[in-house]
């Protein structure tokens, strides 16, 4: 177990190093720079600005300096277009919002998706199965930029207590969490249905049935453990994705989360912010995958 964890951590660090390096050079290959503005910046001003951020130096020098600051001082750098704002400030302001929204969405996804998948598997080829499958299909096919505004217009404009957008009132998380949660619930429903169907055909389930174990008990005690393995493998990275924010959801519901920074930083050529966000997201994915692996080992004795 310890060996598994150590090797995964080592692999994770290596992944992060490659990620940081690739991102560093890739963002600098994009056309334009953080100083490309609608109203051209005069040459003598541009020179001064570049000297401040160090972007006037040769690329290898910039890379060495970035890595040195990152490794020894955990310094992600400053935003280029914003005055004296640190990348770490942006992430630490936005991440708690995305985390809260991600947790709520994950809760909805688990509470809706897994029971729907299990019911569909147990009641295979019945109207219950078909409705669960239909729900999953709709959830997967309809993008969030359709579900979100539909929900905002139908529920938000109808109920006075629900704001169509914003992040100030205690009920403001409901619509974005439902939108984000439902999409993931759809995937979870399909995965747990498939997983459960596999398990329900296994010999040990038949044995349990033959021994007269009640149906509900068979499912909860014996089938769920194995049936949820595909869903758990999905949950790890999906959760990392959910807590790192969604550009679409944040734009539709006006939420000060992480997702919009991914898109805006790329559009604005905010080099240090892009690098910081990619590294942070990479770290979340690596950590979530590690946890998902450990959860699978805990659930599935064959993997030990």
């Amino acid at each position: 177990m310890l060996r598994l964890i150590t090797s995964r951590i080592f692999q994770g660090l290596l992944t992060l190093f490659v990620l940081v390096t690739l991102t560093f050079f890739l963002v600098r290959m994009m056309p334009g720079s953080p100083y490309t503005e609608e109203k051209a910046i005069p040459a003598h001003i541009l020179e001064r600005m570049k000297a401040y951020t160090g972007l006037d130096k040769p690329l290898p020098f910039q890379y060495a300096r970035y890595m040195k600051n990152l490794v020894f001082q955990q310094d992600f750098g400053e935003l280029i277009r914003k005055d004296g704002v640190k990348v770490s400030e942006v992430i630490s302001d936005a991440f708690p919002v995305s985390l809260a929204l991600g947790l709520a969405s994950m809760g909805i996804a688990l509470l809706v998706g897994i029971p729907a998948g299990v019911i569909a598997a147990v009641r295979k080829n019945t109207p219950a199965d078909f409705s669960c499958l239909a729900f999953a299909m709709v959830g997967i096919c309809l993008p969030s930029f359709v579900i979100g505004p539909l929900l905002a217009v139908s529920a938000g404009l109808y109920f006075n207590s629900l704001n169509v957008a914003g992040w100030s009132s205690p009920t403001d998380w409901i619509m974005p969490a439902v939108t984000l949660g439902m999409i993931n619930a759809a995937y979870l429903a399909r995965l747990s249905r498939g997983g459960m169907l596999d398990v329900l055909n296994q010999d040990y389930i038949r044995t349990a049935k033959a021994k007269g174990v009640p149906g509900a008990r068979i499912i909860i005690r014996h089938a769920l453990r194995g049936g949820l393995i595909p869903a758990i493998a999905f949950i790890g990275p999906a959760f990392a994705g959910m807590i790192s924010g969604s550009f679409v959801i944040e734009t539709i519901f006006q939420i000060p989360g992480m997702g919009q920074h991914f898109v805006n930083a790329a559009n604005d050529r905010e080099f240090f912010l892009i690098q910081g966000l990619v590294l942070f997201y990479g770290f979340l994915i690596v950590a979530a995958n590690l946890l998902a692996d450990l959860a699978q080992v805990a659930i599935n004795p064959r993997m030990r």
Binding site: S33, A40, D83, G156, V164, W167, Q254
Partner: protein
Amino acid sequence: MQRLPLILSACLLLVCCDKETQVEKATREGILLIGNTADPKSFDPQVVTGVLESNINRALFEGLVNSHPSEDLTAIPGAAEEFTPDETYTVWTAKLRTNAKWSDGAPLTAEDFAFAYERILTPDLGAKYAEMLYFLKGAEDFNKGKSKDFTSVGIKIIDPHQFTITLRGPTPYFREVLKHPTWNPVPKHMVLKFGKIGQIANSWSKPHRLVSNGPYRMKSYRRNDHIEVERNPHYWNAKNVKLNGVRFLPISNSYTESRMFRDGQLHVTYTAAPDVVDYMKKHDPVSLRQEPYLGTDFYRFNNTRKPFKDVRVRRALSMAIDRDALCKSVYRGYEPAYAITPPTDEYTPPRGVFFDPEQARKLLAEAGYPGGKGFPRMKLLTSNREATQPVAVQAMWSKEIGVEVEIEFKEWTAYLLATQTLDYDIAFGGWIGDFIDPLTFLEMWSPGNGNNNTGWDNQDFVDKLNQSFQSTDPAARYDLLKEAESIMLSEAPIAPIAYRGKNYLLHPSVKGWYPLLLDGHPYDSIELVPQPPKRE
């Protein structure tokens, strides 16, 4: 389990119960809720350049003069109770109010203004908009490092409440220039407390530290969520400030913004998308505002590339655009443009190229492309994937003169880069005036100006502009500018398309909000009046 329906109905009741909307609550409290597209880049008035930052700055800082709430070309006294020019409009004397103070109670003095001008012009600060102060005598040399001595710049302090500004030449419209946030003072005592004069990213303007001299001061800020300003008790005219505060919301998506308006979360939106305009016209025309704005949309021709080196080709393409049809069917609230400078009460631009397909075909034939034959397939560069207007122009050129162009989309930064490095054939462009004067639309077409981006170069045009800089008579100056603009329009380095309009939504409870060409509404004269409840 039996209680579940009960709990669910309680939740539903909680959600459904009739509650005051945010706008109703804010109206009661005297706080204006306003959509402002994005999070500001800084609160330092000398560092920022954008419209959204100006909107916030206007609440926090006050320059020598203020905008009039309803008249575009009128400046009302601000921090200076008197601001008078000499007879040549070159030396201006500012007499500051003795009761003007910073929001921390410190007095506002001539020293703060002189310091602010020195700071923005200090090369080390790297202020992008420093050139707005090039009107000052000696400012350009100081900013470009040719002179190290600030006493060479035309600022002279007479006493703590009086100073003179000497300009590089006669500038009768200087009061309009002064409305720009780059001319606002900064608190010398605070800037120097947290850094040096030319220090980039000086933390004095961090929201929790910001000291300002306008009608409002910073109350709270949450990144990408809101900025709220509250009454500044030290403001010299605090008793006449009507609103208790303004809350700016950085809503980037115009549809989200419109939904928030409809849901009672906003008093004013930043914009309204064309389909929202159509919807509001039918369902809530009272809240829809469509007003002229000091901006022009146009197409740049790359004057350094064939076939656009030939003025006949440029004129032919410009003549084949039916601007009336574009404004009627594609734009909402925009007016057809036949010049680059939008008309104002004081300046009527000359009429340039207009829709004349027959003449266009003739010119194109003279240039060697009869019926568009042999015309190279050109690309029309745009950054807006959803814009229908380039498609309409593409069709007009094809139909009227047989010229086929291909629409090329590039995302914003790549588009800017292509335009600025002249790596395009035809490019969509736009310009918003910094202040209300034709100069802000004409100066950019001088050769070597960083915003020309067409490669067009005409000495007669430059001469006329230079003559206008020396003119002390406002009417004669406008004539010279008109002549300069005529020269430019006859050469057609660009094809003007439309004067911009501003479409937005305004809640009926907002009073004292009048159309302004630069949309620079002074918040202190705005009032919120609760509306009687609507009967469904």
